[in-house]
Symmetry: C2
DNA sequence: TGAACTTGATAATTATAGCTATCAACTTTC
DNA sequence: GAAAGTTGATAGCTATAATTATCAAGTTCA
C-alpha cells in the first residue's frame, strides 16, 4: 500500500509518468492539441522520454482537471489561470534571498507561473521546476489564496 | 494647487464625484450599460446622489481604465479581474483579528473583491467600503502582486 | 412643464478566446 | 518494416464572454 522509492514492481505513486498523450487527453476529455497548448501555457510539466514523448502522471491529470474547471466553470480564462499561478508566493516557499529575488523574472511578474521561466543565477537554477515544491504543491490553481493567507499571517510559520 | 479638505471653491481632488454616467462612459470609451455592469461586478463603487444617480470621480475613471486594460489587453476576463482583486491581502491591510476573519466571507473567497461583500460583525462593518484603504489603494488591478509581496516579506513593514 | 437625463432589465449583437481538425515529418514499437 | 503513435505548426470552427441596443418608468432641473 505504501509508495516507497526503492523499487519493487508495485512502485506506483501519483507522480509516476504513466499516460501517453492520447490517453491523457481522453482522461481529460479534451483534444491532444489542447493538451499541448496547456503545456505551452505552463499549466503542466509532463515527464518527457529521451524521444521527447510525453508521459503524464496522475498528478498531472489532476492538475489539469483543476485548470479545466477554472476555465470552463469559473470562467477564468487561460490568462486568468496563469495569473493565479503567478500569485503564488514562491519566494517565500523557496526562501529566496534578496539577491535571488532581484535576479528572478518571476518575482514581480503576474503574467505566468514562476516555473514557466528559465532561471539563471538564483536558487531555482539548480534543480528543475518539475521537482520544485512551488510547482508540486500547487496541483490546484483554485487554492492559491490559501497560500497567500498562509504566508502573510505569520511569516508562513503559523 | 493643494487639495485640502477644508472647503474653498477650488477644492478639487481626484476622488471628488464629478462625472455623471454618460460622461464617464464617454471618457472610458464604453457604453453606459457596460459601465453599469462593471459596477455590478464590483470594479467600482461610484458615489450616488440621494436620487440614486451615479457620479464618478477621476479615481473611478482611472480604476476602470485599468480594469479595461486588463480585460482588453491582458486578456484576463471579468472573472479574472474579480479574482485578482480577491487576492489582495485585505486582512493584513485592515489588521483583521482572528474573529474578524472567521466572520468574513471575503477572507477565503477568491471569487470577488472583498468590497463586494456585505460585512456583518467584523471590523469592516463600521465604515463603507468606498472609504476603505483596501478599495482606495487598489486603483490598479495589475498591482495586486506588489501588495502580496509587500505583505509577505516583512509582515507588511518596510 | 417638458426635454433630457436617469434608472433597472432584457434581448440582440459582436468579437474572440477556446478548442478541434488536419498536415507532413519523424519515432516508436512489436 | 510497417502500423500506430508522436511531434510541432497552421488553419478553421464554435461556443460564449463581452459589449451594445432597446425598453418602460421614473428623475432632474432649466
Amino acid at each position: 500500500m505504501q509508495n516507497k522509492d526503492a523499487g519493487g514492481i508495485k512502485n506506483i505513486s501519483a507522480d509516476m509518468p504513466l499516460y501517453p498523450i492520447r490517453v491523457a487527453a481522453k482522461l481529460l476529455g479534451i483534444s491532444i492539441p489542447l493538451l499541448r497548448l496547456y503545456e505551452i501555457e505552463g499549466f503542466v510539466l509532463p515527464y518527457k522520454k529521451e524521444s521527447k514523448q510525453r508521459l503524464y502522471s496522475q498528478l498531472d491529470i489532476d492538475r489539469l482537471a483543476c485548470v479545466r474547471k477554472a476555465i470552463t466553470e469559473r470562467k477564468i480564462g487561460i490568462a486568468g489561470v496563469k495569473m493565479a499561478f503567478a500569485m503564488i508566493p514562491c519566494w517565500k516557499i523557496k526562501g529566496c534571498s534578496k539577491a535571488d529575488r532581484e535576479k528572478c523574472e518571476a518575482y514581480t511578474s503576474s503574467e505566468k507561473p514562476c516555473w514557466s521561466y528559465k532561471h539563471f543565477d538564483n536558487v531555482c537554477e539548480t534543480s528543475p521546476c518539475s521537482e520544485c515544491p512551488v510547482y508540486r504543491d500547487f496541483t490546484d490553481c483554485n487554492h492559491v489564496k490559501s497560500a497567500i493567507i498562509e504566508h502573510t499571517n505569520n511569516n508562513g510559520k503559523m
